[in-house]
Assembly symmetry: C2
Homo-oligomer: 777 residues x 2
């Protein structure tokens, strides 16, 4: 069976399907469709193959209906209209607004119809109106049909003004990731649009067919029919080269997909990948993506399903790692595409130092205003989490160095947690403790001290905090996850006191007795991602911050403290929210779970909604002022060529706006309600994964623990080894992959991430799969 | 005076200009323009201001001409048509194809017309046909008018199919960076497009005005005129709110631009910037960019030009640093926008490890095929030059460590040149010698040895190679730059022999006597950019590579050398072509000037034509194989979330294709010819800056030396200090800025970079300015 979500892009080996779009209404879509069917019938009959015509939605019923027209003039075609509405107006006005006429219903019928075609041949799907004409629900057709991403035959407009409408229609399709494979236009000796459009589309790799214009309408229906019949008879052959080309493009597309894994295996050096473990057979060719789903080339389908199905070439896969934790607002989100294209069209990239442009300024102001941390007053742009960490590091080290009178070459470390991960550039690597990620990397040298820490997970239906051995081991139970997150309430409790004492003692040991120097605290709030999806007790992280801040006695000020009074005490606190921030855990910041205001904060990944690399490092004004000097060499000498590139900033602006609106609205109301335990006013912690599902998973004997927060789910399986090199969760992972879920593992942890817009039915489907899978491993 | 290139975007304080576009032809552009003028006349007359109507291009002349229509029904308007063609067909067919009807001529007349309006008021510019209808030269209107970027009033289509054509027209404008500020549509009770489009455009921040539909045409001209007249009288008032809103948007746009520098000064932390030196007065607000030009908010214009001009708010500035050396194919290049949007629409970003998508694969194959270095067989993607350098470093250090049996913690250095710069992440910084860029940076520690080297420049009309002091000083003269670049011919000469001996001796000293370990050679071929635009003698760099390669005796192999035979000897050679590659110096690779094939090559900046961050690190298969192992921890553990993001790869693919086509075509023929000295078959080195200009500059007494290669020009001015902290070139820089050239300095070096598509007239204009400026400083 397959992942129980909507079907994807129907690319079949022996059924060629394409979609006819018009540059405008009334440009001759049905006439061209009829000609295509007619020409196809001649061609296919030679090969004993079928021709199907489908009009999903039609308005203006009766004898003039498009499917009847096609049937009448292209004998032998299997023509069908799914939904026919009488009034000759836009479907969103002609159709009743009922669930039966929803987009979901239409898409489902469409998939059913295509799946029902068992014979080889060609399917022509004719759209209604122009490219953006609405569906019965009011969605733009171009957006609605996008998950199918059928190759397109675009009927250009041969009338006056048709050059413009044809190009605009093409652009609307192109920016949605459609492949227009053929343009068809009627000749018109007055306007000669074909003379302009032919070369135009040629430059975009699209060939054009020019057809004689159809006869003008006769008054007598009989004469009209006879003229049309004659026209179709004499003209159909003109489309034969186009059909041969479409057929060859269909074959090329499949051949290309088939060849891609082997070619990739020869040319690509994959990030974070042991190439000895991969081969053409393990590399997946992604044809496209939409929402939460990839369309992946599926060599397996070739053999297994050939009997019952049309040998599907593509298989839909759930993007279960949210594309390395970046995905937020759905793949191929048209709002983000438009935001990117607008900025590209208005600016391209414009150099940033000393300049300002609206997307960078607006985004910076939006973040400062909404992140809820008054300390943060400055925004520094870079390209990704790793560079953002290096920027944060340079900021913090300078601030503490100046304050404590250290030299630039002094051996300054950072304070962090064991299992930290902050990126792969050397400076960011040096912020993480030694481990499998870095032990083989030349030039790595962990610079700092990393605390082991208590971890949170549910086991056997109970939320537990487990102490590490160096803190004496042992478990503490909690009635709910929100209780765990009541960090202020817990602070005065026994764990809170124990944490504070423990941390203070370690600090004294490190600073007073070992004489070590530290320049910053750097933590990933709540969840340490790449280090193994470790769910930290938020109270421990909060306490670490507070103890450092109240331990100014351990960091004696230099004789010449810099002017101005720093707003930080002890050490600057850096929160690396690259993975955890911007609603990944359900809140705009993950440090808000700790109830602390950091001095420096790093955000990337979800910042652009999952489209493009961009990072911001925010800092307090106090730290910013440490870099003011007469000498340029004392500035923060860090910069990337594409700093604050307008495209990324504008996409991020749109993404953050969208996420803020979701947060302010009802987007996650059901999830919040589901996680609210009786007696709680509002749950501090919630997830799009159901609480009952987490509880069920936690009871499996092979599960060591499970947690979920926001869109993150992590299941730790029992294993005799731990850490990155473990392969414990491989069995479960394999089962998920078979079902079409592209999840990932980190050692014995299997995690699945949803995006912020994953439909509830998809999450429920994943839950079912996981429970079934756990029952079988 | 101003930079003598085409004028930019006419944003004036007291003349509001906007442009009327139609979603299609025949949607009522002229009727709405007439109504706008009429409503404006009422409004403006109260304020004693004028109303202008301009139809740049019109077809279908006679009494029906649009400007006549407007004049007839909106008494008092200053109406004008620039070019009128008789036939009622597209301008590209109606106009004679002569230079007088070129785009340049039209743009020039347009600017002249606008500049000629001395009174306050409003200008309505009506386009012809639909948004993409061609100009007389055949350019899409939307592209042609883009440098002006006037705010847009879009007339939507109220007919059947008009929802689609209106949205597509909007998208075509939006992705070109236009601001559509108002939609106007005629009501139509059958199709009710306004009911759909109003909320649609509202979501995009654009308000809609619905107007009663105009009377249908009467047979009698007199009745028709009277009906129209009545319609205009009764309807004009409906547009008053729209006009008030457009006026307020005009004021807001200016107020926003005015406020941006101060807001940026409060929120932004600029890269590589000493904030003590900047203030709201020094920050430039960039409204948009096009081709080589920024449109910059110009507070100066407010006072200085108010008497003669309409108080221009924006000033056009030449992007003289090619936006930190990234710009190649022009800002806001529509081909790159479409490439970005297509990939965003097809994929968004899809995770890369273990997967492949067409843009990443195609780009990788294209680079491997065209870079002309057979050693390179693998492509690793990252986000920018700095991360690409870190990747290269990890590759090379591992290869040499395995071969020579060193440990991961051994102190391995790199061999490079003095003044090197490879990026701002700590690992990349550590590849550069100590200097002003890094002396204050915590965690920096230069790891390697850096050779001082002979430099090339023209002085007093003669190309010279100057030895550094540690090589004994002295100069050698050359007849031409191509002679300098004849590195194979020069190898056996006295300099070649001297270089080889010198380098070998230093290596022996470092390795044999000091016992130092080196893991790689890393150089920026030909030009060391950020280090101060240092033009290295290519023979010296070539010799460094060749001596290291032939000094295998200094690097004894480990007992257990890895399996497989490495294709490198001595040390892996890394070329950092981030700045110099991909035609910045006129060739696809800058290492080809050295006549060497590197083992690892890094490319970024121009890779995406100047739009988006993306980097590739290419390596030999031999080095790739050093990472194959049973253990995942021995893989190249480097990766960024957005590795090989589809948008960047697709933009890069389009950019590289475009650059390859330019190279194969005649794009730089004139420049190549200009630099060919008599007797030379083909010049090895050429520049878009003329040889005669370089010669002239080299003769100024205050010029220490000058060089140009590809699109790079660098003038070193005499100064008593050198290096980054110098301010010698400030005088010349200031002069250029006054003239509208946004050039940059590095210490006493002033450099100007053109893009790959800079028009010859712009380069000539810059040359004139520079010569004049040098005469005055």
């Amino acid at each position: 069976m397959r992942f129980p979500a909507l079907d994807g892009s129907p690319l079949l080996r022996s059924l060629r399907a394409f979609q006819v779009y018009g540059a405008n209404t009334n440009v001759g879509k049905t006439i061209v469709s009829t000609l295509l069917c007619k020409a196809l019938l001649r061609r296919e009959s030679e090969k004993n193959q079928g021709v199907w015509y489908l009009k999903p939605v039609s308005t203006g019923a009766g004898v003039d209906a498009d499917d009847r027209h096609v049937t009448k003039y292209a004998h032998g075609v299997n023509a069908k209209c799914l939904w026919q509405f009488k009034e000759p107006i836009s479907p969103h006005l002609a159709a009743p607004q009922t669930p039966q006429h929803s987009d979901e219903a239409l898409l489902s019928q469409l998939h059913k119809h295509i799946a029902g075609i068992k014979q080889s041949g060609t399917l022509v799907v004719e759209t209604a109106g122009g490219v953006h004409s609405p569906t019965p629900s009011g969605t733009s057709q171009a957006d609605f049909y996008r998950p199918l991403r059928l190759p397109i035959v675009l009927i250009a407009d041969s009338a006056l003004g048709g050059i413009s409408s044809s190009i605009s229609a093409f652009e609307s399709l192109h920016i949605r990731g459609y492949d227009v494979e053929r343009v068809v236009i009627f000749s018109n000796s007055t306007y000669r649009n074909d003379g302009y459009l032919g070369p135009y589309f040629e430059r975009h790799g699209v060939p054009t067919t020019v057809l004689p214009s159809p006869p003008s309408q006769h008054e007598s229906p009989a004469e009209d029919a006879s003229a049309m019949s004659e026209y179709y008879e004499s003209t159909a052959a003109s489309l034969s080269p186009a059909i041969a080309d479409l057929e060859s493009r269909h074959a090329s597309r499949i051949a290309e997909l088939e060849s891609m894994p082997a070619r990739a295996a020869e040319t690509i050096w994959y990030p974070f990948t042991q190439h000895a473990e991969i081969s053409p057979a393990t590399i997946q060719a992604i044809d496209s993506a939409h929402g939460d789903f990839f369309q992946v080339y599926s060599p397996a389908a070739k053999s297994a399903k050939s009997a019952e199905k049309q040998e599907e070439v593509l298989r839909q896969k759930f993007d279960g790692s949210a594309s390395w934790w970046t995905q937020g607002l759905g793949h191929a989100n048209p709002d983000l595409t438009l935001a990117a294209a607008y900025a590209a069209g208005r600016y391209g990239h414009v150099m940033f130092p000393g300049s300002i442009h609206a997307p960078a300024l607006t985004l910076a102001e939006m973040l400062l205003k909404n992140l809820g941390n008054e300390r943060l007053e400055r925004v520094f742009y870079s390209d990704n989490g790793s560079t953002g960490v290096e920027v944060a590091l340079k900021m913090a080290l300078r601030a503490s160095r100046l304050r404590y009178g250290w030299g630039a070459n002094d051996d300054l470390g950072i304070l962090g947690l064991k299992g930290a991960y902050h990126g792969d550039t050397i400076g960011a690597m040096d912020c993480a403790d030694p481990g499998v990620y870095n032990e083989e990397v030349e030039w790595y040298s962990g610079r700092g001290h990393w605390f082991d820490f208590p971890k949170v997970a549910m086991k056997d239906g109970v939320w537990k905090v487990t102490m590490p051995e160096e803190m004496g081991g042992g478990e503490t139970e909690f009635a709910s996850l929100s209780e765990v997150f009541d960090v202020e309430g817990r602070e005065a409790g026994s764990l809170g006191e124990m944490y504070a004492k423990y941390i203070r003692a370690r600090l004294e040991q490190l600073v007073k007795f070992e004489g070590r120097k530290f320049g910053a605290v750097m933590i990933e709030p709540v969840v340490l991602g790449a280090g193994g999806m470790l769910f930290a007790d938020p109270l421990f992280q909060r306490t670490l911050v507070n103890v450092v801040r109240s331990s100014a006695d351990l960091f004696p000020a230099a004789a010449s403290e810099p002017t101005g009074s720093p707003t930080w005490s002890g050490l600057p606190i850096i929160v690396d929210e690259v993975f955890t921030g911007l609603y990944r855990l359900g809140r705009i910041t993950s440090s808000s779970f700790l109830g602390i205001n950091a001095d420096i904060s790093i955000h990337a990944k979800l910042l652009t909604g999952g489209l493009l690399p961009l990072c911001v490092t925010l800092s307090s004004d106090s730290i910013f002022r440490d870099f003011l000097d007469e000498s340029k060499t004392k500035a923060l000498l860090h910069g990337h060529s594409y700093t604050a590139h307008a495209v990324g900033c504008n996409v991020a602006k749109t993404s953050v706006e969208t996420m803020l609106a979701m947060d302010a609205g009802d987007a996650w109301r059901a999830a919040k309600k589901d996680w609210k335990r009786s007696g709680e006013e509002t749950g501090a912690a919630w997830s799009t994964w159901r609480h009952s599902f987490i509880t069920e998973v936690s009871r499996f004997s092979q599960v060591e623990g499970v947690f979920a927060l926001g869109s993150v789910l992590a299941i730790t399986l029992k294993d005799n080894t731990t850490g990155y090199t473990s392969t414990a969760a491989a069995g479960l992972l394999k089962k998920l992959k078979v079902e079409g879920v592209d999840a990932r593992t980190l050692g014995n942890v299997l995690y699945v991430l949803a995006s912020l817009t994953t439909k509830e039915e998809a999450v429920r489907g994943l839950e079912e799969l996981l429970v079934r899978g756990l029952g079988e491993v």
